[in-house]
């Protein structure tokens, strides 16, 4: 190519607006005006057509696949006759550069404004969008109606900020003077807030700051934003809350700083859990009241799917409730299960939304259940995706809720057994300090943590188009995690310095003096706040504290348990035979927790194989027990075999004298598990193998309600190999170095391949997973319960129906399933099918191969076991039939799969 002599070419430049696509009332119109000044208007600051803005803007809701957003640069080359030619054409004498602006796509994120080297871009509010309506029915209301009428999604994100913060006005903080002097906060003990512990019993996380980050998931945040926040937490000496998307393997060196969140979706491979700092149970969130987490399909890319153990590019909607905890008595059961899993020195927390009337009861229920901390999610909180109505509905004030929770816990004598974290709408150090004075041990700032990374609250988190790379994974490299983390650290330290100053001004020497001191008053117009904090000083001590509550057996440690059962423990452990141990539970000789502790003690002595005899409903069997095989004779209690990995479990009936104990399993058995195989020679109850990650589950008879709920798509092979032992002793510096090194490697491949190729390069890992398989034989007593395989994210469920029940299933089969398949033998009517699935009445060869293997294995396991006369009879008839004519059996199966595997297109939300 011959080079073009520049002086020969006439260059014409212009800035032009694109033509609006639509006119009429449904034309969305530009919410913001985007203007670029030229040199004539602002000499020295005019546009130089460098194209930085084109690169900067990523927002394009009407055409998400487009490479450009608000700005695009068009360059035309013409010859002397005005004909268009190719750029390299030597005839070119005329070049026209057009910078197109499409203001309709602008969301006011200001990336272009801040990146423009000339400051030539001005983004302002468009009066034509905003100046409509009247005071009562303003532009927001009208545009909301129009958006709905256009069929747009009502999902939005971040903090809506419909009202100004109630925390910013009408509060006064006390000050000390003369009578009790202020502290000089240049010295050590003046409001110091650097020696704190999250958790007050055995499990404690030592924190160096009272301002914590909040749960934001990997997936909702880009890799870089997540990493920046994680590193900031390590540097600040505070735990990192992961959100419900687990953490990326590159970040595993920091496991001991991370508190994993278990959301209602239960996403994650759930490995190496004892290396983390703890688990937070997410029960609610202010920004999406009563709703589960959401991740739009677009953001659920291959890498995210691997982490969450789900199929890629499906909308991920976690169910609204935490299905394993519907009521108060299930909370202690859940804690018991998690405690068995994690041990006593790991934190177990609960994230709850501040309810209108019964919040004291909720706080007390959580404390009595044994949680180590409660996170109060109050009004004005933010989120990465929620319906606009949920965000607009302002929750209760964070100071008020903190006060309510603190008082309730104090009355129960449990305040010093549980920490309170309060968050939601904390905008600055003053708010944070108010919350501590109201009784919180810690406060959370989530949204604030994102500002140093670039967040200007354009509220497009859910679209995956964040131009700053905070909530958009492909643009994540716009954030330098190292620099980003430093900025967060600076900001938080500055906030905490303020708080220390405020405490010093109150004459307080440390954080302890601040918590619950309530040295403030409210004198504004909010009646609830005024009545609580404006009228009179709050009593120093609450009356009639239930001081004995803290000695409840729920708070017993394993040391106490060993002491109480020392005879049973020593006589049982004396019976270890090589790597095997038989424990005779003898109905009630040992309770659930003690049995769990005993089995762990036995593992320490080298036991790998357990046989538990005469079990009657003991809970949490096997959870946290690192054994290869557990055989149970009798009835398995609630939450047994939860979280077990690579373990073989067999449950068979017991004969206790003349009594037969059926080999049934109660509620929540095998939840979140990944066993080698699990064979239960009886019925299982509700939520069997819910959140199962991988492994094979065989149930001789039927299952209860919501069996295989949220079954996953299997565990990536790399997770099975992961070992975090070496990181346990890493210093913070070593961890940061490792994190940065891992990131450099990632960035190098990203730069080499580009985002899409980089993501696609992990596709083989998706297919390398072994999804869980569950097969139910069915008993004569009952069929399968409702909601079979609800919300399944992969995996296979088979109902073999060996007893030939005519209509073996309940209602809402596979409702909300996003991947995987159910094979059901027997009649399934359309009205029984759940939402978003369809039934196929024939099987392919691969279906049959899969079924053949599973049926063979099923028969070989259960035909050998004496379950009961009737069942064994039916089973042998079935086996005979299958042996003689397998095709006939296959023909009686139907298959249920999700209808829509893809994502719905995201339309503008406004």
């Amino acid at each position: 190519m011959k080079s073009i002599e520049k002086n020969e070419v006439v260059v014409k430049k212009s800035i032009r607006y694109t033509e609006p696509v639509k006119t009429g009332i449904y034309a969305t119109g530009a919410k913001h005006l985007v203007k670029i000044t030229d040199d004539a208007e602002e000499p020295g600051r005019g546009c130089v057509y460098c194209g930085t803005c084109v690169e900067a803007c990523t927002h394009n809701l009407s055409n998400p696949e487009s490479k450009t957003g608000v700005f695009s640069m068009e360059v035309l080359y013409r010859d002397s006759e005005g004909n268009r030619v190719l750029p390299e054409n030597e005839e070119t004498v005329f070049m026209e550069k057009i910078l197109w602006i499409n203001p309709d796509e602008c969301c006011n994120c200001k990336r272009c404004v801040k990146m423009c080297p000339q400051r030539a871009i001005k983004v302002t509010k468009n009066p034509d969008y905003h100046d409509i309506g009247v005071n009562l029915t303003n532009s927001e209301i009208i545009n909301n109606c129009l958006s709905r009428a256009s069929g747009n999604s009502t999902i939005s994100s971040a903090h809506l900020g419909k009202f100004p913060s109630k925390l910013s006005e009408d509060w006064i903080i006390d000050a000390a003077e003369i009578l009790s002097p202020q502290r000089d906060h240049l010295h050590e003990y003046a409001g110091s807030m650097d020696e704190l512990t999250l958790g007050k019993r055995n499990a404690k996380f030592h924190c160096k700051t009272p301002v914590l980050d909040v749960h934001m998931s990997y997936g909702s945040n880009s890799h870089e934003a997540f990493l920046a926040r994680l590193m900031a937490c390590i540097k600040l000496g505070r735990p990192f809350f992961t959100g419900e998307g687990y953490i990326h393997p590159d970040m595993m060196p920091a496991a001991k700083h991370c508190i994993l969140q278990f959301g209602s979706g239960g996403y994650g491979p759930w490995v190496e859990l004892d290396k983390f700092a703890g688990i937070s149970m997410k029960y609610g969130q202010d920004a999406k009241k009563g709703k589960g987490g959401r991740l739009q399909a677009k953001k659920n890319d291959i890498e995210i799917a691997l982490l969450r153990c789900v199929e890629a590019l499906r909308n991920l909607t976690a169910p609204n409730p935490q299905h394993l905890q519907y009521s108060i008595e299930e909370l202690p059961m859940r804690v018991e299960s998690l405690r068995a899993l994690l041990g006593e020195d790991k934190l177990i927390g609960a994230d709850v939304y501040g309810t209108a009337w019964n919040f004291p009861e909720i706080a007390v229920a959580l404390a009595k259940a044994g949680f180590d901390y409660i996170t109060v999610k109050a009004g004005d909180g933010s989120t990465g995706a929620a319906h606009i109505v949920d965000m607009q509905n302002r929750g209760l004030n964070v100071v008020y809720l903190t006060h309510v929770a603190d008082l309730a816990l104090r009355r129960e004598g449990l305040r010093e057994q549980v920490s309170i974290i309060s968050e939601g709408g904390i905008l600055d150090s003053f708010h944070a300090f108010l919350v501590l004075l109201a009784g919180a041990d810690f406060t959370g700032m989530g949204m604030r943590t994102l500002h140093p990374l670039g967040c200007t609250l354009c509220r497009r988190c859910h679209t995956g188009q964040c131009a700053w790379g905070i909530t958009s994974r492909p643009y994540g490299t716009r954030i330098d995690p190292g620099v980003g983390s430093e900025k967060i650290v600076k900001m938080i330290k500055s906030f905490v310095e303020d708080m220390e100053g405020l405490a010093a001004g109150l004459g307080m020497s440390s954080h302890t003096d601040v918590v619950g001191a309530r040295r403030f008053r409210y004198h504004g117009k909010d009646p609830l706040l005024y009545n609580t904090f404006g009228k009179e000083e709050i009593e120093k001590q609450v009356e009639e504290v239930a001081v004995k509550e803290r000695f409840h057996k729920i708070f017993k440690t394993s040391k106490d348990i060993r002491f109480e059962n020392k005879d049973f423990f020593s006589s049982t452990l004396a019976n270890i035979n090589g790597d095997s141990l038989i424990i005779d539970v003898d109905a009630d000789k040992i309770d659930s927790r003690s049995l769990n502790v005993l089995m762990k003690d036995a593992v320490k002595k080298g036991v790998k194989k357990f046989t538990l005899k005469n079990v009657i409903g003991q809970r949490i069997i096997g959870t946290g027990v690192n054994a290869e095989e557990i055989n149970v004779e009798g009835l398995v209690g609630n939450h047994s075999f939860a979280f077990v990995r690579n373990m073989t479990v067999n449950v068979v009936p017991a004969k206790m004298g003349k009594f037969n104990v059926p080999a049934n399993a109660q509620v929540g058995v095998a939840n979140t598990s990944n066993p080698t195989e699990m064979n239960i020679a009886g019925h299982v109850s509700d939520l069997f193998a819910a959140y199962a990650v991988s492994g094979t589950f065989r149930v001789a008879k039927s299952g209860g309600v919501r069996n295989l709920l949220l079954m996953k798509a299997g565990i990536p092979r790399e997770w099975a190999k992961i070992n975090l032992e070496k990181y346990a002793k890493y210093t913070n510096k070593q961890i940061i170095e490792d994190l940065l090194l891992n990131y450099q490697k990632r960035k190098a491949s990203l730069n080499r391949m580009g985002w899409h190729k980089f993501i696609r390069s992990q596709e083989n890992k998706l297919n390398d997973r072994k999804p869980p398989i569950a097969i139910f034989g069915l008993g004569t007593e009952r069929g399968m319960g409702d909601y079979f395989m609800e919300y399944a994210q992969g995996g296979v469920g088979i109902v073999l129906n060996v007893v030939n029940m005519e209509n073996p299933m309940g209602y809402y089969i596979c409702s909300g399933m996003t991947a995987g398949a159910a094979y059901i033998r027997g009649k399934v009517t359309d009205s029984q099918l759940g939402v978003g699935v369809r039934k196929i009445d024939y099987l392919t060869d691969s279906d049959k191969n899969l079924l053949k293997k599973e049926i063979d294995d099923f028969l070989s396991v259960f035909t050998k076991i004496k379950i009961d006369k009737q069942y064994n009879g039916k089973l042998s008839v079935f086996a005979e039939l299958y042996k003689n004519d397998p095709e006939k059996i296959f023909d009686e199966f139907c298959k249920i799969i999700p209808v829509s595997a893809g994502a719905e297109k995201i339309k503008s939300n406004e």
């Binding site: 000390a176 050590e188 003990y189 004459g507 302890t512 001590q541």
Partner: protein, 400 residues
């Protein structure tokens, strides 16, 4: 039990008695304590030099004056003479038996001072079986403690049981020390069998409870304490106690400190532990401690209850719990504190002046007079007028 008798003078207003809703404005106080073998008259005389530090309340606790019998001795003040009967029946409703009661103040003084009705009761506690029947407590002492606390809280506007020990007597007025001595005829005890004495001269500081509630020593059961200062940690201290089921009956920051020290002694914490819990260490001091000490320190201060017992803000406190008397200042030494002792007697006071003059009046040669280091706990125990200086490792009993 009681007959309504007419006292001269008008009844004291609720506001004056209880401080009303807002309480009295929160200052300075004078403290003097003596332990061992001493003469009360000489001590009282020396305390006069501290009068300038506080003139709206003076109180005295004398340890040992009621030792010769096994009854609890209540000193009770009533704001309204017509409520005496009603409130006495409240006390009797606890199942106690009032063996004897009499007025503590001569009638003629009612013409001179605005004073409430002040009576003394000799109280026999219920049997242990009866206590178990009424409450989930199986100790006579804690039963009485609980009832007194409840009574004082509930009737805060009308009455206060300001002394409820089997051994000690506490005497409070809202006037100067000389008035207190006169009103209660303290000189009558000159030849009694006392072995310790706390004297407090008050300038009200705490947002506590009025003229008649404010004076110290604050005493409940075998605990009595005097405090000079105002704690910024008062809410944290109160919450720690609340969560342990220990309630304030006066509600001041001072009381919380006294109850904390008593709790710690009862639960087998050593003097050193108590010092660490209440005063803490500067972070730089911590760095210079041995590894074992650091470990123990961390263990103590990371306990959520003990953590909240730290004393922040200006304070000099002298606390008597059973046979032990502990004195200390805050770690920053925002209030003065001196001690002086020999084998016979020990003094603790706000100022050396008071100690030296007490020694002079008593003609005692003290071995040592000095201001203890900031935040150091100094303790003495006394038994039959014999004193022992408590070393750092001393603890009352093994922790249970």
């Amino acid at each position: 039990m009681s007959t309504v008798t007419k006292y001269p003078g008008t009844e004291i207003s609720e506001r004056e008695f209880s401080g009303g809703d807002e309480g009295l404005s929160p200052g300075a106080c004078g403290l003097l304590a003596a332990v061992g073998n001493f003469k009360l008259s000489a001590l009282l005389k020396s305390a006069m030099c501290l009068q300038y530090r506080g003139r709206t309340g003076a109180g005295i606790t004398l340890k040992g004056i009621y030792k010769d019998h096994n009854f609890y001795v209540f000193h009770v003040m009533y704001r309204d003479q017509y409520k005496v009967g009603e409130l006495e029946s409240v006390i009797e409703s606890w199942g106690v038996h009032i063996v004897e009661s009499h007025e503590m103040v001569p009638r003629r003084l009612y013409y001179e001072y605005d004073i409430p009705v002040i009576k003394k009761y000799f109280v026999a506690p219920p049997t242990i079986d009866e206590i178990r029947y009424r409450e989930t407590i199986d100790s006579e002492y804690f039963y009485i403690l609980k009832q007194v606390t409840k009574f004082n809280k509930k009737f805060i506007k009308d009455a206060r049981i300001f002394s409820s020990s089997k051994e000690n007597g506490t005497f409070l007025t809202a006037f100067e020390l000389a008035d207190t001595i006169k009103i209660y005829d303290i000189e009558q005890f000159e030849n009694s069998d006392y072995e310790a004495c706390l004297i407090h001269l008050r300038w009200p500081t705490s947002s506590g409870r009025g003229l008649w509630w404010g004076p110290q020593p604050i005493s409940v059961g075998e605990i009595a304490g005097i405090h000079n200062g105002h704690l910024s940690s008062d809410k944290a201290n109160a919450m720690a106690l609340e969560q342990l089921g220990i309630y304030l009956h006066v509600g001041t920051d001072s009381e919380a400190i006294f109850l904390e020290v008593d709790y710690l002694l009862r639960n087998g914490y050593s003097i050193l532990d108590i010092e660490w819990i209440i005063s803490r260490k500067f972070p730089r001091e911590l760095e210079n401690m041995t590894e074992d000490d650091q470990k123990r320190f961390k263990e103590l201060v990371s306990d959520p209850y003990l953590k909240k017992m730290k004393m922040s803000g200006p304070a000099t406190s002298i606390v008597m719990s059973e046979d032990e008397i502990l004195g200390f200042t805050d770690r920053d030494h925002l209030r003065s504190f001196s001690i002086g002792y020999n084998s016979n007697v020990a003094f603790m006071a706000s100022e050396q002046r008071a100690i030296v003059s007490a020694a002079y009046f008593l003609q005692e040669n003290l071995d040592d007079i000095y201001d203890p280091d900031a935040g150091k706990v100094v303790g003495f125990s006394v038994k039959n007028k014999k004193i022992k200086k408590l070393d750092y490792g001393w603890k009352r009993n093994e922790k249970y």
